[in-house]
Every structure is written in structure tokens, then in C-alpha cells.
Amino acid sequence: MATAEKTKILVGLGACGIAAGAQRTMDSLKQRIDELRMDNVELGVSGCMGMCYREPLVEVTLPGKHSVVYSGLTEERVDRLLDEVVSKGQIIEDWVAKADDMAGSEDAFFEKQHRIVLRNCGKINPENIDDYLEVGGYTALKKALEQMNPEQVRDEVTKSGLRGRGGAGFPTGIKWGFCAGAPGDVKYMICNADEGDPGAFMDRSVLESDPHAVLEGMAIAGYAIGAKQGFIYCRAEYPIAIRRLGIAIEQAMERGFLGDGIFGTDFSFKIKIKEGAGAFVCGEETALMASIEGRRGMPRLRPPFPAIEGLWKKPTNINNVETLANISWIINKGGDAFAALGTEKSKGTKVFALAGKINRGGLVEVPMGVTIREVVEHIGGGIKDGKRFKAVQMGGPSGGCIPEELADTSIDYDSLNRTGAIMGSGGMVVLDESTCMVDTARFFLNFTQEESCGKCTFCRVGTKRMLQILERITEGKGREGDIELLEELAATVKKASLCGLGQTAPNPVLTTIRYFRDEYEAHIKERKCPAKSCRALITYKINPDICDGCHVCHRVCPVDAVQGDKKEVHSINPDLCTRCGLCKERCKPGAIFIE
């Protein structure tokens, strides 16, 4: 409950919000508040609230009242918000997404979530350190430095059972122990923010919405391993995250939470941001370090492991953004509290970027052990447009497709591995009946093939050959024996590649063959795409009973494939049609269908 005299308005300015028009909402609010001389209103910025599907989101807290989050708040709605909510103190119920003291329309979205990593996201202003301090920021660092020695910090994290959230799932406390035990005075602590999986935006949202939590986690990790210098390796594609990290580092330096002699102890820790330059493989530890050193980001053989010989040949520890965002919570509340959540071998929570053919896409954080179905159907609100739930793609290009029949699989490292997919970094893309699984495999192979650094022959050439086979299958030119050939190549690429990229690149192919072999066979033997998605295998047709001869399809067709005069039933010439879909998109009566 707000005790302040002023009305507080927070606009969610994460990348998703901005893309949905939140910056224009912000500008408009600023202008109108000025014009109307509403002096008792304090306008601020917040990060990602997670409800991407309801953006732009604006949170309003009237003096002495609970906060209410309004959704779909485009600039056109600003005047009504200021008039009814801010001036008259009413609630516009139709726009309410979430309210602390009443049933909001989005309760189902939050009900099964448990927010540790996202605890501050969308609640605090990421550009103001005071907001972070108000919610207990940097108290964990203080506790670690004043009351614990580095070994106790590592033990607490080990006790929590936290495993690396970048995908591999190695126990974080044990990893820290390797680096702490390595000989050498100079050690480095790196935060891996090179979130490259297509369909994943967990780390971006955390960096944009709660950058200090990551800095605090890094400083604690630095203390635990004996590093004085930290680096954040962040994708250049995340300009807002980079800017907010820069502001956060500057503020933390000013207040003495970073720098020399933190909290009057002899511990010093500084952080530099390194911008990536667009190479997916740089998410791999050794490639990432090569990139910071200014070289081509190519992985190298391990051992020596980074903990012994890492950045500039010094012992180095690398953790993912989400892993680090958990640390201050664990130090403050204790490893046992964290370990109380989740399953026997997978503790705590996991953040997922829920996207694809789903009603409520966004950023969700659930305790380990909930099922895929709970996430898709309960939190995500099921499939869009009433279509059938077909599969979820988890773990991006390294992961796989889990079919609907296995949707009751528990979300933990081991159960997911058994399906052939992986936990991955948290991308969860929901696929419906209109998604072709062969095309999905082709899509990921195209990605890994392009991103392969080229060092290992099996990854460089093997993924290319696999892609060629998948391309010919989707083009209706598949041959008998292609599925077996894919399986053979997949096994070899997995075995003979040096780094995770090559070792996992065949997973999307293997899982789709395992669960959707009939779709591959339909493409090869019957020359049909059951999902009606592969262009070479479909035909656009017009239903004469529905067509009203409005002529729009004829007008929009870029290749003049639609024939027929106005007010007459039209038809499509399949020889001219390029299957661009413009006609179907524009047909008002819905007469155009795919066969």
C-alpha cells in the first residue's frame, strides 16, 4: 500500500513494451500531466512485468491505495486514464490486468508462478538504485562480506542446489569451488548475457528490469571465487539492457557497492560491459572468452577448463544472468529456503519465455517440478484461435520438440533430458496443428548451420548436409531412406563436435523424427505436408460457395494468379501462385483455404 501523498504512475518500458508503443504512452503521459498541471503525480519507469501479451502496461498507485496495473494502455487511452483513475479515483475495470487487492483478469497468469529471479521486475525503476535499495538491494552483498567468508558463501550456494540456468545445469556452488581453488592471484568473473537462442528473452528482461540484482550476484560470486574484476558479455542486439547496465554500474560505483573497499572491507570488485558482435557460438564459454580477448569467437578443447585457464589464461568463472539473479536471494534467505522449492535434483525456480501459438505469451517463473501442461494451459491460457496443442519447443537450437502426449512431463533437468529435449536457457515456444515439424527441424538446422564457427568438420559439413536433406523433404523432393540418413548424420555430428553447439545441433531433428516420424513420411512418400505449411506441397484454393466476388484477392495478388471478374466467383491459377498468402490474409468472407 502506498503511503506517499502522490499518485505514482509507472510505465513498463522493457523492449516488448516499447515495441507495443509504451514509449509513446510515456511521452503522452508526460505531456498531458504537464499540460493539466497535475503536480501530485509522480511518473516513473519500470521494467518488464511479464505480461507481454497485454502491453503496454501502466501501474497506477493512488495515495493510500493498492496499486492497479492497466493493460493495453496505448497513447489514445492516456486521457481517460488520467481523468477517471487519477483525477476521480475510479477504476476502469475493463483495462485492469492485475490489482493487489482485487481479482484481476490475469490471476491465472500469476497463480502458479513463484518469482525469485523476477521478484523486482516490473516493480522497481531499473534506472534508480534507490528503488533497488528499498526492496533490500545489496543487503546480501553486505551480509556475505561482513558475516561470511568466501567458503561459507560457496557452501550456501551449493546447499541451495542451484544449477546453471544457461542450459547445461552444472551446480553453481561447485563450479565456484573449482575457480576458487585454482592457483593464481588474478581471477575473473564473467556474466554470460549473450542470450542467443531464438525464442528466448529471459535474460534480456532481467537485465532491462532489474540490473542491480545481476551486479549484486556478480559481486558476491567475485567474493566467493577471489576475483576483483568482472565482465558482462552482452549481445549488442540488446541496446536497452546495455544502457541500463551502464547506468546501474555507475550508480553502484558512486554508492560504493562496487569499486574499492566495498562496505569498508578489503574486497574490491569492478565490472566492465563487453558488447557481443553477433555470433551465437559466443554463448559457449571458451568462445566467449576468445571474443572478449578480441579474437574470432571459436571454442577450444577443454581441459584446460576456464576455472584453471580462462580469460587471458587466468582462472575464470562464467555464470549466466538468471543464475546470478538468484544469488542475492539465496544469501539473504538461505540455501535451505531455495532448496525447499523444486524437485529432488532440480531446485528453485526457472524462468521461461513463453511464446508461439499461445494466448498469454510472456515471461513466467515457475517452481521446478510443475508440468509443461500447467505452463501452457494454465499460465499461458492454452492455444490461440482454438487450435490444437501440438508440441512445445524447449531449449532452442540445442533442444527439441516435446509432443502434447508428453505434456505432463515435470519441468526439471532430468525429466526433460529423458524426452530428448533439454531444459535449455528457457525458451518455450508453443506449436499448434498448423506448424510443420519437418519445417521446424529445418528452421533450427538452418540456424545452427549458419552459426557453426566452422572449426569441427562434422559440425560444419554435417549440419549443412542435414539441412540439405531437410530442405529437399520440405520441398517435396524427399527420398526413401532420408530419415535413416538424417539419424546417422545426427549421431556422427553429436559425437564428433567439440562444443555444445555441434553436440546438440541434431536434437531438434532427432526429437521431431522420434515423435513425428509420420509427418516426415507423409512428406517423403505422399508428398503431403499434414500441417499444410510447406509451400511446395500446398495449393491455395477459393471456395465458390463463400466467394462473393469482391475482387480484393485479385487486386492484392502480386503475380496475377487470381482470375475472375468482379461479382463473380474467383479462382487461383496454381501454376502462377507463389503461395505468398496475401490473398488469404485479405479475404474478408474467408473463402480462401489451403489444401
Binding site: 523492449a15 516488448c16 516499447i18 515495441a19 507495443a20 507481454c52 501479451y53 502491453e55 542470450e195 542467443g196 537462442d197 531464438p198 525464442g199 528466448a200 528473452f201 534480456r204 549488442a236 542486439e237 540488446y238 541496446p239 563487453k274 558488447e275 558482435a277 553477433g278 555470433a279 551465437f280 571474443s291 572478449i292 580477448e293 578480441g294 579474437r295 574470432r296 569467437g297 571459436m298 519465455a353 511464446a355 508461439g356 501459438k357 505469451g361 510472456g362 519447443q393 532452442g396 525458451g427 515456444v429 506449436l431 506448424t435 521446424t440 528452421f443 533450427f444 540456424f447 552459426e451 564457427c453 492484392v556 502480386p558 505468398c580 498468402g581 496475401l582 490474409e585 485479405r586
Partner: protein
């Protein structure tokens, strides 16, 4: 003042000041760890990485120009050719792919009369495909310069292009 001829974004060859680059190099220091940040800042300044810029970086950092080219061609971010005034990046992440990103690229290519990866004859637009811009819930998405456009379709693409063209005529 050290100048060298490089083509400007308008296509004309003009004398361009390499002092800007020298200042960037001075700020970052000449260690090998500075190579990528220097290339990034140089590309920001010149729009792409002309031969002269790469050679000057090579001499200043004492890194063979072959190695500099090695780094430049390894990372997707770096460009050896000039680009259009506006860069259109069509997202081809997983969520956008299943939402029809391919058709969005096609629509841009059709409206602009260029192939993916190329620049229009008037040097106003460059069309690119990118892996993921992380706005998955707004799929399919395209970014033009810094601005993101979500939930696109063929008609939306035409509208966006028209808006930019109108703005250009005004300027």
C-alpha cells in the same frame, strides 16, 4: 589531417576524416582486447568498415590486417559494404518463424524491390534477416533502425514502408 577516399552513403566518393578513427583508437587503447570495441565504434561512425579503416586499425593495434578481416567476417554485426539510410531487420526467431516471418521478409522484398541482404537503389533501405530480437510475444516482428513493429502482416509492411517514404519526402 589524414583523409582517405571512401564512398559516402549517397554513393559518391568523398574525402572522409580518419581522425575520427584515431580518436576512437586512442580512447580504447591499443591492446588486442580493444579490437572488437574499436571495430564497433568505427562502424557506428562510418556506417560500415571501409578498407582504409581496417588497414589503419591493423597498423595501430599491430594486428595483421588478415586477422582484422578474420574477426570482421566472423561476426554478423560487421559490414564491409555501405548500407542504406534505414536498416530493416526482419526477425526470424522461432516465434516469428512459426508466425510467418518468411512472408514478412518476402513482403518487404516485394515492396522495396530488393533481395534479402541488399540495399535499395536509392540507398534508403537495407533489408536484413536477424536471428531473434527477443520480442517474441509480438511475433512476427521487424525492427527499422531502433523502432520495433510487431504483429505484422503483408498489409502492415506496406503501411510501414509508406510511412518511411512519406517521411523521407518531407525531409
Amino acid at each position: 589531417m589524414d583523409t582517405s577516399s571512401i564512398p559516402s552513403s549517397s554513393g559518391n566518393v568523398e574525402r572522409v576524416n580518419l581522425d575520427v578513427l584515431d580518436e576512437i583508437i586512442r580512447q580504447h587503447g591499443a591492446g588486442s582486447g580493444s579490437l572488437i570495441p574499436i571495430l564497433q565504434k568505427a562502424q557506428d561512425a562510418y556506417g560500415y568498415l571501409p578498407k582504409e579503416v581496417i588497414e589503419r586499425i591493423s597498423r595501430s593495434l599491430l594486428v595483421p590486417s588478415s586477422s582484422v578481416y578474420g574477426v570482421v567476417t566472423f561476426y554478423a554485426q560487421f559490414r564491409l559494404k555501405p548500407v542504406g539510410k534505414h536498416i530493416i531487420r526482419v526477425c526470424h526467431g522461432t516465434a516469428c518463424h512459426v508466425a510467418g516471418a518468411e512472408k514478412i521478409t518476402e513482403a518487404f522484398a516485394r515492396d522495396l524491390q530488393v533481395a534479402d541482404g541488399e540495399t535499395t537503389a536509392d540507398r534508403l533501405f537495407t533489408l536484413e534477416s536477424v536471428a531473434c530480437v527477443g520480442c517474441c510475444s509480438l511475433a512476427p516482428v521487424a525492427m527499422i533502425d531502433g523502432e520495433t513493429f510487431g504483429r505484422l502482416d503483408g498489409r502492415g509492411v506496406s503501411k510501414v514502408i509508406k510511412r518511411y517514404r512519406r517521411q523521407e519526402r518531407k525531409d
